[in-house]
Amino acid sequence: MLTVEGLELYYGDAKALDGVSVAVEDGEIVAIVGANGAGKSSLIRAIAGIETPAAGTVRFDGEDITGWPSYRVCDRGIGQVAEGRQIFPNMTVRENLEMGAVIPRGRARCDETVEDVFAMFPRLREREGQAAGTLSGGEQQMLAIGRCLMGQPKLIMFDEPSLGLAPALVAEVFETIRTLNAAGTTVILVEQNVAMSLRMARHAYVLENGRIVLSGLAEDLLDDDGVRQAYLGL
């Protein structure tokens, strides 16, 4: 479904991605793990068209989407729940959701999907008219996920969706991701919570200093001594 090959990304002179290749199959969950500053978010933003890669290709559903602007990438069906949630704090919960459906792909089913999202996260319905900036961290994460669903994505990239959440909410977020995946959505998952994400994923990639240093079946990586030492603290 998604094939990234030899992706390179620079911030000024600093290289953030150095020949990254990743393949994601239809319907699977792929985990991407790595230390702080390894380049995980950069990879997501480069796929999303928010950063422009200097070299390499991104193919989605057989189409070369390298260097496309983010509005076109989103409209092809690649959604994301971004690092730091990136909600619109001064807009209402409902307006935030509506913004997820501005891309042509989301427009037709906007109202129905708002209902689906409210059914999934009833607390959002209670706060429908409230400014999103006044929500709790967990509610903001629900909103970020709901807003992403508004665009009818085929592939969702989650960037540290459990960061800063209480354990009960972390479980809820992972459960939501599982449910979405079971319903047919392909998932790329970047997580601090390496053990949990490796247990959910089929394939996994380890990113270090902008390079993929290890990849394979997630269950194999869970057993890998290097991974266990570096990321699981075992």
């Binding site: 999303a48 928010i50 602007p69 983010s70 509005y71 076109r72 990438v73 989103c74 409209d75 994301q80 971004a82 990136q86 909600i87 619109f88 704090p89 001064n90 807009m91 307006e95 509506e98 913004m99 997820g100 501005v102 891309i103 807003r147 992403c148 508004m150 665009g151």
Partner: protein, 289 residues
């Protein structure tokens, strides 16, 4: 001087102020979303005023009726200006943006000078000297109409931002630019629309002001400063602030004319600006940062 006269003059000032409000609203909308200060704002206003004058003298169109034409044309100009000229400067240092828009301003002033010369021009509609009488108070018809239409245009703009999909998307860009990219908003298009709308406000305001004030090409810089004063008094980036700031400045100009001499009116506005900056630096409606 009687209290009736004072009241008439103050009401007239507030009504003129509402036209200023519409001009300042344009500046505020552009800055609030794109974070670019339109240093050619007043010069664009004079362009619109000249358009109002010539559609009146040449085509017999009341500026209130030519307003949609002028505002529409300036919208297109603003859209193109953002797309072609300002957009590449968005990520560049502020002084470079300043020089770019200053260049636009200078081109406009001199273009108008070349085309029309330095003489003052005016619009004299057939109701120019009529007034409404509310008991002992007289209100100029032109001022009442100009203010009324100005309020309608401003209300339309506020509704656009509150209720339409595109209007909300523009607010989303100013609220969280990264978030806007994340959900796939077309930011370059929305910025161009915003600049177009801001300049269209000026177009509308210019038409209305041509009913009240004589226009010369040299009026531009003065109006740019006036728009800044209003926006700073009202609070940078706040739409309600721009509306209120315009009324405050209109009132202060009227008071200046009443108490001292009319030519001292800008001294009054600037005095007010300094007072507000000293005691409420974020402006009347601005948020403290």
């Amino acid at each position: 001087m009687t209290w009736d006269t004072v009241a008439s003059i103050l009401i007239g000032g507030a009504l003129t102020g509402l036209v200023y409000s519409l001009m300042a609203l344009g500046l505020s909308v552009i800055f609030g979303v794109i974070r670019v200060v339109n240093f050619a704002h007043g010069e664009m206003m004079t362009l619109a005023m000249f358009a109002g004058v010539f559609l009146f003298t040449g085509g017999g169109l009341d500026p209130i009726l030519s307003l949609p034409i002028v505002a529409g044309t300036l919208f297109i100009l603003g859209y193109a200006l953002q797309r072609r000229l300002v957009e590449p400067f968005i990520a560049r240092p502020e002084h470079e943006q300043f020089i770019l828009l200053l260049a636009v301003a200078i081109l406009l002033v001199n273009g108008l000078l070349l085309a029309f010369g330095p003489d003052a021009r005016s619009v004299t509609v057939d109701y120019a000297f009529d007034s409404f009488e509310l008991g002992p108070i007289f209100i100029d018809k032109v001022k009442a109409y100009a203010a009324g239409v100005g309020v309608l245009v401003a209300a339309g703009l506020l509704m656009f931002f509150r209720y339409t999909r595109t209007g909300k998307a523009i607010r989303a860009c100013s609220d969280n630019l990264m978030g806007a990219q994340v959900v796939g908003l077309n930011i370059r298009r929305l910025y161009a629309l915003t600049f177009g709308l801001g300049v269209a406000c000026v177009g509308a305001a210019g038409c209305l002001l041509s009913l009240l004030v004589d226009v010369t090409p040299m009026l531009g810089p003065e109006l740019t400063l006036l728009a800044f004063v209003i926006v700073i008094i009202g609070g940078l980036g706040s739409m309600m602030g721009a509306l209120l700031g315009g009324i405050v400045v209109g009132l202060s100009e009227a008071l200046a004319g009443l108490l001292i001499v009319p030519s001292m009116k800008s001294m009054f506005s600037f005095g007010l600006l300094i007072l507000i900056l000293a005691f409420r630096p974020q402006g009347l409606f601005g948020k403290r940062t």
